[in-house]
């Protein structure tokens, strides 16, 4: 191997001005991730009838709001992970994740009370499967943007960064789909919408680390 002095000479020779990864720039990535996902849904599937009419269901608001906030917490964590620094804690998003588990837990509790057959019917499985597939596929849009950020950056834990990126992608994907999905039952949102986040998180954890390792 060449000496360190030779290496330094080569690196200096290769130096080009770089565009710094500012925090604000990362936040623009997040805004683009949400905006694009929502635009794809509204342009291709349209919006819920009650949304257009201005009558908003509280379960819909709480469900979509929870996913949006968890998505934001996870995406901000991804932005932070791109710019490493000893002394940074990356676990803040877990509190938002804990809050969001209220949705599947509420579905589980009401499901147990109603009995399995009623609970499954109320979750609208046919439409639920569509939400799961479309929401997960839509997660690719935010995932691509966040992966681009991480590839420029230097995430020191590619596995964790992959998982958190998956959570953010799933949350933004299902948030966008929820603007179209007309179902307001907590069984539907707690089961199928939450599954999108779980699916994307698992996919992110499995696939993304190899894309961002350095």
């Amino acid at each position: 191997m060449a000496t360190t002095d030779d290496l330094i000479a080569n690196l200096v020779d290769e130096l080009r001005p770089v565009r710094r990864m500012r925090q604000a720039q990362g936040l623009w990535f997040i805004a683009a991730a949400i905006g694009l996902s929502v635009a794809v849904v509204l342009l291709s599937l349209g919006q819920r009838p009650d949304l257009a009419a201005g009558r908003l269901d509280p379960i819909f608001l709480m469900g979509s709001g929870s996913f949006l906030i968890l998505g934001l917490a996870a995406a901000v964590t991804v932005v932070i992970m791109g710019r490493p620094q000893v002394g940074t804690d990356h676990r803040g998003w877990l509190w938002a994740a804990a809050m969001a588990t209220v949705l599947p837990l509420a579905a589980l509790i009401t499901g147990i009370a109603a009995g399995p057959a009623t609970a499954l019917a109320r979750s609208a499985p046919d439409h639920g499967l569509t939400c799961l597939l479309v929401g997960s596929a839509l997660g690719l849009v935010p995932a691509l943007l966040l992966v681009a950020w991480l590839r420029r950056g230097a995430p020191t834990s590619p596995e964790r960064a992959g998982l958190v990126t998956g959570v953010a992608a799933g949350c933004f994907g299902i948030f966008a789909v929820s603007l179209y999905c007309p179902y307001n039952d907590v069984m539907h949102i707690g089961l199928w919408h939450s599954l999108v986040v779980v699916t994307c998180a698992a996919a992110g954890r499995a696939v993304i680390p190899r894309l961002i390792r350095w």
């Binding site: 330094i8 130096l15 490493p84």
Partner: protein, 174 residues
Amino acid sequence: MIADEATLARLMAMAQNGDRQAYAALLAACSQWLMRFYRRRVAPHSCDDLVQETLMSLHQKLASYDPERPFLPWLAAIARYRWVDHLRKLYRADETGFDSEPIAASEEPAIAARISLARLFQYLSPAQARAIELVKIEGLSVAQAAVACGQSESLVKVNIHRGLKKLAALIEKD
């Protein structure tokens, strides 16, 4: 001479703008800093290689530093990442010219200690730290390490595996 935090941060900001003279000074200072940082935490013969790998990572990830933030915690994160990666890749070192000075006896100042490698080792169990030191840093075989620390060979392997996994998860922890 080891440059101070403010000087390094300034040189780095200039380098990001394409100033080659500042970059040459920065890399020279960083290579010295890294030599000290890695000392006693890698086998002496691989220290140069690791410093060079880290300088290449610094070069590749130049954009991820924000001049509004301190420089050394950024460099330490890059360096810790390369170090854990190095320990993972290391199959078995074939030299044991190891400086036997006790690892806990550090004369580093308080701020440097917070970003040091010794700091990371504190999060390992004593058995994990010992197994990693003997095999990955001193270059003993698993069998030799088992004799040296009184653990079974499989336990040494398990401790190395779990210890490295833990280190990888703690890279940005102070």
